[in-house]
Symmetry: C2
Subunit: 270 residues, 2 copies
């Protein structure tokens, strides 16, 4: 028997299951204004950051856990819904063979530039036309680690609310601010206040190590295949280059952002 | 009309197409002792490193290109085969919607520890139970960038010859040595010569910045979810920690390896 208050769902064809599964597609996320996150640790982190899911989905038959109780109470207190279902159905919803025992449906956040307070953090990550949701989530995770304020997504990037991006972020989707803007909006916004725009570049660049970084430092990383457009690099205050000792002339985008972000962190704090 | 010497394949059900597609599965790669790589730049890099494909697959109807001519001549000179087929069929083979115009079938390399010359490079990357082929390929790419000698895969890792790993390596699969070993083999091998084993760790660790790194430095990164087993960390010569300013207590495995590798590079060269 499920707990009182929980709704038990046993069928794959249940309309709620279908609606939850649909959140794996961007158009359904945008229509609903919600996204899926999974995993007890991640949902607990989200709760501690003030994010309560509209809907909490629990796998049947798992042992009780005080963190699950806490999540459940928070959801009920906020007027949300708790669904109990089989591990198989939960796996179907999240698209994972070995599903986590818990998933949640969250409201998407405000991703306007206007909502960012640039003075709130010394480092901001900026990605241009980043297409891989795994890279995007990894950048959010790195941003959390270096104490960045958030990730600004320029031009057509992967959706930060996709299951893959949320998963790769390891919860940082809830701790990092996320903004989405075209370059034509971003640059005037940036120049409307303090902020140093830094890019990893091969053109007219100084060594990344010991470069004159200044807070708030906006670290700009380009598209996985094409890198940054030349005029975007030209608009930067500082272009830095990392050693490339092998045949390749570039790093994975999320790796380049991380190596640079750790250097900036050391420079600003050192 | 295809060039003389090229074999034209027009059917999806052609047995050669099926055999090439099968190389996306590990068991078929192991049975054949070969793997697939795609992309003109990657195949050209491979050629310059002395790797000629057994089979070169070209998409029909693309413009002539001197680098393709060069590849084709090298394949014929080595007694290999050149296949021309449609872009659709090539996409079916490599599993990509927008396939590259060229792919190659390569012999898998010797991945024994015995084949490594540790004195050949100041840095070596070591991954334990790394499960994500994208992370694995990204580590190869980072290794190339920092001038590492190669990547040593400990315990059950993703297959470095999977299409995903090869793709993420951006060609570094051909420039970096790859070894595969159990921990029980690796540790005696390491201790049989010079080498400092370094891990990113939260236990009994010193700051990663300015730590006493020494060449050849073996940088050990653990599994994506579980990190390194405690006894593996205990066996390290140096445990270092990176700043974690947010809620998370770890970085993506490939990111952690890269931040550490760039620090080691600077330390050894500085």
């Amino acid at each position: 028997m499920p707990d009182p208050g929980r709704r038990l769902i046993t069928g794959f064809s249940n309309p709620t299951v279908k609606a939850l599964r649909a959140l794996r597609e961007k158009k359904h996320r945008k229509a609903a204004g919600t996204f899926l996150a999974e995993g007890l640790r991640l949902l607990t982190d989200a709760l501690e950051c003030g994010h309560v899911p509209q809907v909490l989905v629990l796998a049947s038959g798992r042992d009780p856990h005080p963190l699950i109780d806490r999540l459940e109470h928070a959801v009920f207190a906020a007027g949300g819904e708790v669904i109990e279902t089989s591990a198989d159905i939960l796996g179907k919803i999240t698209g994972k063979d070995n599903p986590q025992a818990v998933a949640g449906v969250y409201d998407e956040f405000d991703t306007s530039l206007a909502a960012l307070d640039r003075a709130a953090a010394p480092i901001w990550l900026v990605a241009q036309a980043l297409r891989d949701p795994g890279n995007l989530g990894t950048m959010l995770r790195t941003g959390d680690a270096v104490g960045a304020g958030g990730l600004i997504l320029i031009d057509d990037c992967a959706d930060p609310f996709s299951v893959e991006a949320v998963r790769a972020s390891m919860g940082a989707v809830f701790t990092q601010h996320i903004a989405q803007a075209r370059w034509e909006e971003f640059l005037p916004w940036l120049r409307g206040g303090e902020g140093q725009l830094v890019a990893a570049s091969l053109r007219d660049a100084v060594p990344y190590r010991g470069a004159p970084y200044a807070a708030p430092c906006f670290i700009l990383v380009g598209n996985e295949s094409r890198g940054l457009p030349e005029q975007y690099e030209a608009a930067c205050d500082l272009r830095v280059t990392m050693p490339m000792r092998g045949r390749a002339d570039s790093l994975n985008a999320a790796v380049a952002g991380a190596v640079l972000a750790y250097e900036v962190l050391d420079s600003l704090e050192g």
